[in-house]
Amino acid sequence: MTTTTIREATIEADQTVPAIHITRDFRATPAQLFRAHTDKDLFTRWVGPNGMATEVLRWDPRNGGEWRYVARRDGEEYTFRGCFHTVREDTIVQTFTFEGMPDAVALETLTFVDLGGGYTRLHAMSLCDSFEGRDAWLASGMEVGVNEGYAKLDRLLADEATEDGTDES
């Protein structure tokens, strides 16, 4: 039992609508997940991108409430905001905007599905307003790579080069 491992998060870029689906199981109840998503101090501790400190500036987790937080690292600041549309024990529906691109708004639907036995499945769907916006968002992972320094990207591209070694297609 001590060796029970939870499968890592899966991600899917939807083919039919410009959405990203992320699924992850947790050894927790839906109530615990709900609390970790709606309690300001708990949320602050896990949400931020790796190595960034998150500060919540506004937090009103109820139907029609709003949220706003800033993530900081080395003098860089990224501020995000949105509205809580629905806040229910098993579902949170909210909008999500990066203030650097205030007109691009994603609609996020988080559901907590009780799997029994103390496990809960989190499904997070982010619906973007265009396929281009969705793909640019996914590609922003590349930006993380650039910020981290080129080392990982270097390896990644080196693998790519090895796989495509014949290069005559």
Binding site: E8, D135, A136, S140, D154, L157, A158
Partner: protein
């Protein structure tokens, strides 16, 4: 090869060029079409496309009627890796969430460090270590 990589890095270090690559992943487009959503000249976008072309990330069609820019097939594989990077970011976030959840009771309230509980010995031990 490292020279090629230098070109690829330089090409993708720019946010406009990353955006161009993301849009070309949807469909081929002319430089004029690519320039439309940006607040910059067609010439400026054309320069960005040239940088991507020199890095071997895109090619321009030879069709004189409609000179479209096309993403190289191997860049699509790179896009798949981008998604993997994004997934890993999500997984890292959720591993932090795992740790936060471990501090909550089943009803979602934080475990009180002052109240002795009759939960499993494993949890009590963890609490003792934490205090």
């Amino acid at each position: 090869m490292s020279d090629r990589l230098d070109h690829v890095f330089a090409a993708l270090a720019d946010p406009t060029r990353r955006d161009l690559v993301a849009r070309l992943a949807r469909a081929d487009a002319t430089v004029g079409e690519l320039a439309e959503p940006y607040d910059m000249s067609v010439q400026a976008v054309s320069k960005h496309v040239s940088v991507l072309e020199r890095a071997g990330l895109v090619t321009k069609s030879k069709d004189a009627q409609r000179r479209t820019v096309r993403l190289e097939a191997e860049v699509f594989d790179l896009m798949t890796k981008w998604i993997e990077r994004y997934r890993r970011e999500a997984e890292a976030r959720y591993q932090r969430l795992d740790a936060v959840l471990a501090e909550l009771d089943e009803d979602g309230t934080p475990k009180s460090p002052t109240t002795p509980t009759t939960h499993s010995s494993e949890e009590s031990a963890a609490k003792e270590r934490a205090s």
